[in-house]
Structure formats: structure tokens, C-alpha cells
């Protein structure tokens, strides 16, 4: 299923995941974390991985030029 719209949506999702990862790494975001203060590197790494997966999926969804 290839579509520019889906590719754009997945790219935006990837950027959102990067922002969330940064917020967890800086200790700003404490959502669902085991402690209520300090940085949460485990969560940050997870969202970096999710961001990479989103960008990869976006590239797969992007319409390809016919060769």
C-alpha cells in the first residue's frame, strides 16, 4: 500500500517519537515511568527505535518511480 499521504503521516509520527525520546532523556516527561524524577533512558531508547521504524515505514510507503 503506497501513498504519499501515508508516507507523510509516518514521517510526522517519526518526528513526534524523536521529540518524545528527547523529553524522556531530559527528564521532562515522566509518563508511565517507574520513578517520578530524572531522565528515563530506557524509554528514550524505545522512542528512538520507534522513530527509526516510522521513518523506515514511511520510506516503504512512499510511491516509487517506475523503472
Amino acid at each position: 500500500m503506497r501513498s504519499s499521504g501515508i508516507a507523510l503521516a509516518l514521517s510526522v509520527l517519526g518526528i513526534v517519537f524523536i521529540i518524545i525520546a528527547a523529553l524522556y532523556a531530559l527528564g521532562v516527561l515522566q509518563l508511565f515511568a517507574s520513578t517520578s524524577s530524572g531522565p528515563h533512558y530506557k524509554h528514550a531508547v524505545l522512542f528512538v527505535v520507534l522513530a527509526v521504524a516510522s521513518f523506515v515505514a514511511a520510506n516503504f510507503a512512499r510511491p516509487k518511480a517506475a523503472t
Binding site: F32, Y41, K42, V45, L46, V49, A53, V56
Partner: protein, 277 residues
Amino acid sequence: MGLLQGASELFPVSSLGHAVIVPSLLHWGFKQSDPSFVPFLVLLHIGTASALLVLYRDQWVTIIRGFISAALRGQIKTDAERLSMLLLVGTLPAAVLGVYLETRIKTLFASPYVAAGFLVVNGLLMLGFEELRRRRERGATRAEQESQFGEAERISFRAAALVGACQALAFIPGISRSGVTIGGGLLAGLRHQEAARFSFLLATPVILGAGVVEVPGLFARGVPVAEYVAGAVLSGIAAYASARFLLRYFRSGRLDPYGFYCVAAGLVSLALLHFNL
């Protein structure tokens, strides 16, 4: 503990279940609630993951190259590229569930009684997976029966995600990560040996990732790092030997013996714990 964890991590018998039950039965002096126990388990897991990386070193090089080329191209062209994407899809659900639920689930179920009970459940699951598999098999010999089923690269992306999500069940002490993923692979149409290979490849980034993010805890005061590293080396050796054995065993072997072992070990453990022997 290193030998026990390394061997039981890859055998479909639940390493976490054994890590909870055996020290309790043998009256060893440490508990999971002890702050120094987490760094110890972390190092043991890194030892196990390192063994898997060594065992599949050539495949991992191919998989990583395949991932990069497929990701940049936005298209899958080779089996290695497909396998790399299957592993990504299979790893994500376990990673998300692991980060958000692992501690809560382990805290909820960290009791030798519960672990022994779920070990029985794990055994019944193994026997159930094999029973469902037998219904789809044709042929007189094991070779003929296995030949109808496929390789890890041919599994569907939906099945890979489901098998990967099943890994989260292993946060419950007594439920085996390799057991549920091998069983899931069998239901998805893989040969036994291929289901084991997919399970081990799927486990490597999860085990390694879970270990590496906990490494800073090793530098806390009072952690006997040298002893823990020795445990990790033993864990790696046991895991390597276990993986080699299992891959050979699953050429024609089934999950049944491990299913019976888990049911028996769970019931015996429950009895021993109940009578405080």
C-alpha cells in the same frame, strides 16, 4: 546461577521461572527484591545475548546490511532484507510492552508459588502447540512432516508481530520466551528448526537491549562486579552450548519433552514449596 540462566534462557522452560524457584528451593541467600540482584541478572542476560551474537555472527552481519539497504531503498528484494524487517516488526511489540509493563508484571508475579504454577501453564502451552501442529502434518517420517513447512524468511509480517508480542508473556515468571516464540513460529507454519532460529534471532536484540540499558546500575556501590562478570561468562557458555544443542535437536525433535518437564517440574516445585522441604 550463571549456568542455570544461560541454559534455561534458550531452552523452552522459563529462565525467569527457574531463577525464582531454584534459589527458593535450595535456600540460596539472594532474592529478586535485593537491589544487587537486578545488575546480576542484567549481566547474565548480556552473557546470553553475546552467545547468540557469536552463534549467528554471519547472519547478523547479513541481516544488518539487509536492513540498511531495504530501509534506504524502501523495498525488499532479498531474503536477508525480508528477515531483517520481520525481526524489526517482531521486536517492536516486545520492546514497547517490555519498557512499560515488565517491572509491573514481574513485581506482581515474583513469587515461587506463582512461578511454579505458570511453569505448569508453560508446559501445557508447549504440549498444546505441538498438538495443534500435529493436526497439520502429513507424512510418515519426521523428515517428510517437516518438509511441508517453511523457513523463517517466509513467515508473514502479521505472524512476526504476533510471535514478537508473545515474548511479553515471558515477563511472567514460569512462561518461557523461547517456548512461546517457538510455539508461535510453529503455528505460523515454520519448521521446528526454523522456529527455533527465528526465536533466537528475535530474542537477541530484546535480551541485549534490556541488558545494555540497565548497565549503569552495575556501577552502584556494593555491586561485586568481578563475581557477576564470571557469572555472565558462564551464562554465555551455557547459552552457546544450549543453542547449538537445540538447533540440532529441533531438526527432528519436538517441544513435547520440554512440555512434560515443565508440568512435572512445576508440580514438584509446588509440592516442595507447600511442604517447605
